[in-house]
Symmetry: none
């Protein structure tokens, strides 16, 4: 079952305890892309982040967190990510059927402050207790509260590492330091990805970046050095490069709901640019199950080919 590609990827993480590698391997040897070094992950923190109706009214089966477990299992996702409460509903029923990533912090939109910062809603002990293969954590580079998040994740990565668990960082720049367009600007996304790597992330999750350049000093360099960022393929390549020259697994979120064609086009560009995979929520679970499975199958086919 072991493949050279997975062995190569694991070699980038040399020096981590064997348990961290074993759990990385568990995800990379699981599901439809097993052994390819590519990962498609189903994340379902939408309920916490946007509220139940905005997340699930379109496809009401999704109100039951076990529906998402079932989707992850049937589609052959490499892992299933969610907050604690949701994972606990299916952790016994689906024990051993799909690697789990426990999201340890989460935000809601009932209260909005100037310095966005998710609440800690789970622990490394919870991750072990429910049998998760990794922890997940969101940082908001650009927020006035970024240090709180960076320092929290520093502690959690260390604790998780001792427990044999790798860490997936959701790097979502936002806050008073960044414009709305800037949140997905290529310079900002690449910067956020690198911060995640520097903090010790084993896997980094970013949003697909746009060609916008947010920061003046950065813009000058991108232009002077003619860094190619006009296509998503080029931008993906730049983000991958920004993650220690491609020696960290970086995957891309799906963002707001769009058509099958749009999703697949985006994924093709990401795959072509060297992206390691997709972590797509709303575009999956807001579709009827049959369509969701078909879409996931097509996405996985893209990465298998890529």
């Amino acid at each position: 079952m072991a493949t050279d590609r997975v062995r190569e990827i694991l070699s980038w993480y040399a020096g981590n305890p064997p348990g961290v590698l074993a759990n990385m391997a568990r995800m990379m040897y699981h599901g439809a892309l097993a052994g390819t070094g590519k990962m498609v992950i189903l994340p379902v923190d939408q309920g916490f982040e946007h509220g139940p109706a905005r997340s699930f009214a379109k496809n009401p089966e999704g109100y039951d967190p076990r529906y998402h477990f079932q989707l992850s299992v049937e589609s052959g996702c490499a892992a299933h990510a969610a907050p604690l409460g949701a994972l606990e509903t299916g952790a016994v029923e689906y024990a051993g059927q799909v690697p789990l990533i426990l999201k340890l912090n989460n935000s809601d939109v009932l209260s909005k402050g100037e310095n966005p910062c998710p609440a800690l809603t789970g622990t490394v002990k919870d991750a072990l207790r429910i049998g998760a293969s990794a922890i997940g954590f969101t940082i908001y580079p650009g927020s006035g509260a970024r240090n709180t998040m960076y320092e929290e994740v520093k502690e959690l990565i260390a604790e998780a590492r001792d427990a044999g668990l790798p860490t997936v960082i959701w790097s979502y720049p936002r806050g008073s330091g960044i414009s709305k367009d800037g949140e997905t600007a290529i310079d900002v996304v690449a910067y956020g990805a690198m911060i995640a790597c520097q903090l010790g992330a084993h896997i980094v999750k970013v949003k697909p970046p746009t060609a916008h350049l947010e920061q003046g000093d950065a813009k000058k360099v991108y232009e002077a050095q003619k860094v190619p960022v006009s296509t998503l393929t080029e931008r993906t390549r730049h983000v991958v490069q920004s993650c220690f020259a491609g020696r960290r697994v970086v995957i891309f979120s799906g963002g707001p709901t769009k058509s099958d064609q749009e999703v697949l086009d985006e994924q093709r560009e990401i795959a072509k640019g060297g992206g390691f995979g997709s972590i797509m929520g709303r575009n999956v679970f807001q579709r009827p199950k049959k369509e969701a499975l078909q879409l996931l199958a097509k996405i996985m086919e893209i990465y298998r080919a890529g």
Copy 2:
């Protein structure tokens, strides 16, 4: 004594230690609704939350916390909930006669800040020491201090779980992020209920929601997807659905004092919508005892029939 319905409800909580299930069962096999999977709980945190005269002057017997123990026992409530001091007055005299829920945080109205946050007034050790069957905790989604509450309850749920105690979360959205009307808006109540579930609540308590829609992004979805929320029955159904598709026990508070007819009409709608029961304070203990017992009997009859 064991019933299929209670067994089914307990199955939703698989993965919890047996003690948590045993204490859930203790409440569900106790009192007038024993075995139905429905719960009517008498909460008496009013004294702490609103002060003594506002709470008890109308029916001065209520100044004695043992009066409320007696009410809970005589009426056959599934549990009796109160802060530490009040529970300690009757915990010996009523030992073993009604399951207790120790409210671990409480607010008073002598001081009002922008970011409401209750004080921790009890511990899991207190709950064990006085023989409680669960802990209770209030969160205010929408408050600028919500992260403090979410993180406190995360720790308490974990400690309580290890000690075999389930957690009841009072989810009361309020604070600078939400208008006064928004506190009971259906989108907000459903969202608050889901947050409680995601945090790991075993039982969720919410206020009966109104048809108001508070948040713009949510409103669009409710309208686009035609989520029916015009009657309390429909809104209850939506809240129940938002609690992991009905796989968490969610009960509804009684709110401000109103007529018997109004109380019973409200309860009928909640029962019809699939609500698991009622946690009603003022509308019970501010009535003379005889009337309170009659009202509780009628409410329980509604849930038994439902």
Copy 3:
């Protein structure tokens, strides 16, 4: 549901945390003898103590620990006592259906030393985790290792008390200090019972004593003071008196398998002598289920009448 008799018994334990009283009450308000202040408990530590075939070959249904849960529930026992592993097999399935007593130490007969001493096989945390209402502990007064046991139980009682759990002490004198006959001699059994009380036991379990007098100095006093110990009724009365003048619940084990008639005669004498009940294992679970239930019903009838 509350009765004067149970209230009276609980008053003997004033000064304990309410949780200890609540758990005492849970056992005394449960099952066929609810409210009488009498208790019949089903103990199944036989498998550990004597091995599987000696315990269960006669009635092979007993190999499954859930069979004993079912017996306890159907017969209406006040509690079900067993070691950790056995209780874990049924703690979820029978959650809330019968109070559990977790035996925290156990002996096997594969190794016999001069100074018998059971091994600690569970903890107070285990008791909480599985939802037990009490801990159980065996002491061997007369063993050269008695201090180990006394000091272990001193710590466990304190920890259990803080957690709201009462302690049942199995007081079984044995060891180099006592002859085989002496193990059930009235002077020795009464002495062992008092030691359990002095150590802080809430409930004491002893073997039905014989008229034998083991210790010379004691014998002189029994004879000089004409302490009546010729019938089991008299001996029971003496043991009850030795437990703080009857202010501690003391119950009697069933001993080796015997006929229904013998069992019932013994129980009648114990009930007449003021014994609080029976904790009978082999004589129950080595009979076919139907007979076991009939026997338990008759025993409970004796205590209800008594």
Copy 4:
């Protein structure tokens, strides 16, 4: 020496460890009011709270903390309360001559912020070390820092209880939530007293309330329910009722220096309203010793008669 009245009062605290009751009894069986269930306590935290000259210049003997010990002993006070430093000066010399209450937090007036909060200046270990019979703690309901105080006292009560020590809470509403007049308003004082009880106080100390009603919502209820609060006797009765229907010992402070006649009139009304006694500082120790002793004797006479 034991009296039915003290036994009755102790019964309200059932469930506490015997040591807490023993220390309550030590105070109630000590001094001039021994056995009556009434208590006059001499508190000397004035030096810390107002500075030395404001406290003691009028009667310079008071600069020596042992002077206050001597006053407490000679007058037959039930207890003597002070901060750690002061108690340490006389704890050896007066060992065993008067029960001590160690005030564990104290404020000074050198710094005043918006959210008043006393400093922790002693520990439960200190209380044990110096042989105190209780700990004392001040809360400021109405302060923005109230949660800090509530959470501190929650921990201290638990620690003290385990050590067999009862807790006296000085409940002094103040802070941005309350006007200056509101600090002694009857609705606020009654509310503050109830909060102290809910937090687990064994003895509550409040200021004699005025007829002012501070909070709009409360005022409506007092008027609608015609709660009588026009005389101090009536207001005392209301405060006592607000302390779990009179099942917690509540005592009243003396406030600013006034004439003997004013002091005694106030005490008569408090006694008539069911107050359990007086905890009076400045009005005692700022008088010459002889006058102080005479005043205390008259006050005690009022409570003995009442």
Copy 5:
């Protein structure tokens, strides 16, 4: 991938944290017997237990612990068990390729005392760090030091459970309480298996029992009740029954080196008797690799058919 049989087996462990079930599932869904509920495990603690030459001279490739990892992976074993040092040699290279069981205690034969007791050579933290799916522990019922082992494993099971790891107990009766023949006597092996279950083992490993009956009291019962123990099939059935009526996974060791035929005959009887599988060391790794793989394939075929 999930099968009804594995789901059924996992249901026996209800009440364990989901992580324990997930790790049980990881082993039962891995390798050549994935999904059957049967397990063949390769244990290599021989080096520690018997010394290097006695273990590996016959097939010197075995001196390298990675040889055994490779054997486990190639043969499709459900898990690979060894002491810490050995597992660390291959944990990185074989990360994610076979579930690991970390043996936490081990004995050597350089020193033999009267009361055999293995040394603790690893920790639960080690198990997590290297990514193991279970811990292993050896008990010697019959040893004068059995209490030490029982109490050690009690603590380790609790710690491992919290970390989501199941426990495999090697139950090997030996010591002064048992004759050499008695170590594999059916009464003793069944008793040792039951003790492991009572202590909380998730998986029990025993030696294939002989028809010898060691203990007098037990022998009487086996004969009186006509418990069939003349064939290995019958004895396996009796051991399975002694493990909570078959509700715990019990697997059988291979013992001293023997011919292929003997090994396979033994395995066939164990499979027929309901044994859950084999944990065979010397008979595997002392054969040349090719023969070892063939033998393992044949054994797995027996269990797949059974």
